[in-house]
Symmetry: C7
Subunit: 84 residues, 7 copies
């Protein structure tokens, strides 16, 4: 088995690797934001560019740029391929 | 690809760049505040000038100045163009 | 554009400027307290004098003095004019 | 206008001034405790003596002494006059 | 009036004085635990011996020993007399 | 009366004494986990072995090993006798 | 009885041992994520590879990689055998 210290990808590292790539973020109350990750901080607050907003699977338009508060995030998923 | 250290825009940096510009803030319970960002702190507490308040898509009037507590914020979106 | 360092009004500064003036505070569960701000701390706990209480837009009387816990606050709005 | 440093009454100071006096505390879930404040700490945990308990405006009896956890408090109101 | 420094009973002090005595603890979701306080910590986590559990005023049996998490506590009330 | 310093059992101490013994943990949303306590940390996160899961009093099977997050715990009860 | 210091498996240790193995994570709102644990941090934020998502027992597809925020986690269960 691979050594732990080599394979582990810490959450903040995953965010760093996702910079300038497409991500999908789901927050409480069935909201989903999809766009390009521009930045983040240790609280998991995210800055997303060209963020499309979906509430209850219904499209609510695009935010040119949005700061999503980390507190309400359920998950962050990089979309698209090999982000390593 | 651009170097990470150059392109990343941290959340607090986005707020700093939005000072004296229009922002839209959504907080829990379907409230939206739109106005000019006058100030903020590390807890994402925001001071907004000429803030129009919307609850459940219904206009509730204008606050000359308002301090929105960061705890309840879902997202902050700068409105209007090139804030870089 | 004005320099950021000059125009930014941090949240705690707005509270300081509102001391001995009328404010309106909305907290969760549709409660509103209006009165004169007598004091505050970094947790946004507020001491309000002559505070009228409204729940669901229904008047519930006056508290000579009240300590409103910051945790539940949605926003604080100075009421009335030029508090600078 | 009065000088800020003289008039501001910080929340903890209001509690200190209320020691051995009657207070009314409302906590979440429509609970109200009224009695004599015996002690407090920085988390706003309160020790109240001869505390009558009301839930949904219905009297639930007296606690000889009770420790109310600060987390759930909405407000604390001194009852009765000039506590300065 | 008595001097504050002499009469104030801080919340942790009340717990200390209640050690090995009967207490009643109400936590969220209408749960009540009554028994002998065996220990506590600064988070208000409590260890209770011979703890009877009541949910919605319905008896649910006895726990020989139980650790109740402080987070959910609404109040702690010593039951019975002069715990000074 | 026994001396406080001798009889007090702090919450973390109760967990330490319960290591390798049966415990029952109730968390929010009417979930109960019963099994052998293998480990814990200061956040009250628990590692339980052979943990049976019950939701709304309905059996949901066994987890060979499970890490229950401390945040959601209502209480931890050692099951079975004299763990002193 | 075995010595405590030898048998205790702390929560973070369980996560470390689960790296590159299958885990099942349940978060609030009846969501379950199953896949290979790639990383974690002290907040219990988890990076999971090939994560299948289930909401209310209904399959919602696969995330190639997902960062699940620790705040909402109810439990983490390693699936499959002897992870020691």
């Amino acid at each position: 088995m691979a050594k732990t210290s080599e394979v582990a990808i810490r959450p903040m590292e995953m965010l760093r690797k996702s910079l300038e790539k497409n991500i999908m973020v789901e927050v409480r109350s069935k909201r989903v934001y999809s766009g390009i990750l521009e930045g983040y901080d240790v609280y998991m607050n995210l800055v997303i560019r060209n963020a499309s907003e979906t509430i209850n699977d219904e499209n609510r338009g695009i935010h040119q740029r949005i700061l999503v508060r980390g507190d309400n995030i359920i998950y962050v998923s990089p979309s698209g391929g090999d982000e390593n």
